[in-house]
């Protein structure tokens, strides 16, 4: 009996080990390209309130109270490693000034290209197009797009809204160094970074339908040290999922140019130019 019991125990242990192996293998089952690299291609979206505020925050009144609850700031546990963005004391007044004027001055409200990393956690999908030689990311918001050079790395010759991106693989993680970014806001709460920032992004498939996204922001003119934000991206799995049009210029024109409208005309009167 003792021998039989021992045999059963061994068999159970082996079966358990096999199960663990099996589970490990399943966990590691991510799509790969023909050269064995993780295949990030697909339509992805953040499910987060990071765009309202990167730091932990409770729900509060939004920038336009006449919208009622629709315009309220949704709460969030935050995506910043350690919770707080390490601002220099000299840089905080700018954040606060941004926050006070966010209804009219947030570049998102003006439909300006969101830069990196904000483009990633806007509440709009993005599509990663990974080929044999390079990676393009197309964002639904404002038609923003960028190409990640994987072979011929180039220094940014001039600042731009989406910057210059050079990528390489570290194991199964796509690491992208982004430079040449214009100064821009990082969320709707006025958090910001200057044009001196370097952003290091890390994209890691944790399974077939999730990417662990990290961005480390190094900007000594605004922050006391480099800091990292981290959040998951979810694959849009519904049939027919695709990027739609969000050419938000038409929704920003009244905000930006409404004071230049001909006196006595209303938006509803201006039907001919559309």
């Amino acid at each position: 009996m003792r021998v039989a019991a021992m045999a059963r125990a061994v068999i159970c242990t082996l079966a358990l080990m096999a199960c663990v192996e099996c589970a490990w293998a399943q966990k590691a089952a991510i799509p790969r390209t023909s050269d064995g690299k993780p295949d990030l291609s697909g339509i992805w979206q953040a499910l987060s309130t990071a765009n309202w505020n990167l730091e932990p925050h409770t729900a509060v009144q939004g920038p336009l109270e006449t919208l009622g609850a629709i315009g309220a700031v949704a709460p969030g546990i935050g995506v910043v490693e350690g919770g707080k963005i390490p601002y220099l004391a000299s840089a905080l007044p700018q954040r606060d000034a941004n926050r006070a004027r966010r209804r009219t001055e947030d570049p998102e409200a003006k439909c300006f290209m969101p830069g990196v990393p904000r483009a990633t956690y806007l509440p709009y999908p993005l599509q990663i197009v990974q080929s044999d030689t390079g990676i393009m990311i197309v964002y639904e918001f404002a038609g923003a797009v960028r190409t990640i050079a994987m072979k011929k790395h180039t220094e940014a010759p001039v600042d731009s809204w989406m910057g210059f991106s050079n990528g390489h693989w570290e194991g199964d993680t796509l690491v992208v160094e982004v430079t040449g970014l214009n100064a821009n806001w990082l969320d709707r709460s006025g958090n910001y970074a200057s044009e001196a920032r370097r952003v290091t992004e890390r994209y890691t498939l944790t399974d077939a339908d999730h990417i662990r996204y990290e961005a480390t922001i190094d900007d000594s003119s605004v922050f006391s040290r480099p800091w990292t934000l981290r959040l998951p991206l979810y694959r849009r799995v519904e049939p027919g999922a695709r990027l739609m049009d969000f050419r938000c210029v038409e929704f920003a024109e009244e905000l930006m140019y409404g004071d230049l409208r001909k006196p006595g005309t209303r938006k509803s009167d201006a039907s001919t130019g559309k």
Partner: protein, 326 residues
Amino acid sequence: MIVNRATSLRLVATSLLLLAAVDTVGAAEQYKAPRTSWGDPLIEGVYTNNTNVPFERPAKLGDKAFYTEQEYAARKNAPAVVETTTNPTDVHYQTADFDLDPEQNPMVRNPRTSILTQPANGRMPPLRADAQRRSDAARAAQQAHAFDSAQNRPLQERCLLWAHEGPPLRPVGYNTLVQLAQTRGYVVLMTEMIHDARVIPLAKSRPDFGGLKRWQGNSWGRWEGDTLVIETTGFSDQVTPRGSGVPMGPEGKVIEKITRTGPKSIRYEFTVSDPSLWDVPWGGEFPMELTDQPLFEYACHEGNYGLPNTLRGIRKEEQTSSRKPR
């Protein structure tokens, strides 16, 4: 028919020469494109379509589709066609100020006399009479309120969509780069100006787009041999195809074909049809060449000082002029 020996030798020789000529053309036509790792023809890259070939053929050339070598050599340094707008009141800047003149940028060789090849005279077919009436009315309404607000200005002045982006794509004279990206199941066509990336799903039949319209229509593609065929329907009512002034009807359609023709070149072909606007389809083609030039971000809206300054000027004029407001 009596054929002597010498005649038959000449006939054989002529036939062989003809066959050789056909073969040469065939070789060019049948350039075998390299493949992506998943087996599709490789068309990825950054291309320029910089050209001085006008979209429509000068009327005096009639049905002459190609210049002779001498004619081509004589005009190859003619300025590029800057066709950013169809609004005759627009003032454009000097392209040379921005290093955009032909001698400052390489031109893609194209001996054609026009981009348009269909109809045979290389000129846009006239609008149908009813479409012309609608077009005239739309134009008159637009002009009556042309400066009332931002929303009354043309789409490209508002940085919403530039006409050359299409579909169909057209050479534009400056900022001429077009980037093609490929992944399994998709091709992306991105125009430098104004950074619009059209994500084109590849499929065996038309995907269900849910009846929704888009600024650049709903595009889908398929490979026919080495040619990517893209079909686009469902354009936004805010978009008016070239010279029409009115939107496409429900049967409006654009077919584009992209074929790699050599190690550094592709051919872009297009056909536009809409029975509500024209009695006949129209279309054309042009070559594009791979380039090492960097593709910069063309941040149109973010740098749009022209639109508010135009409106500001008009409002100022209304305040100071003794004339009635426009």
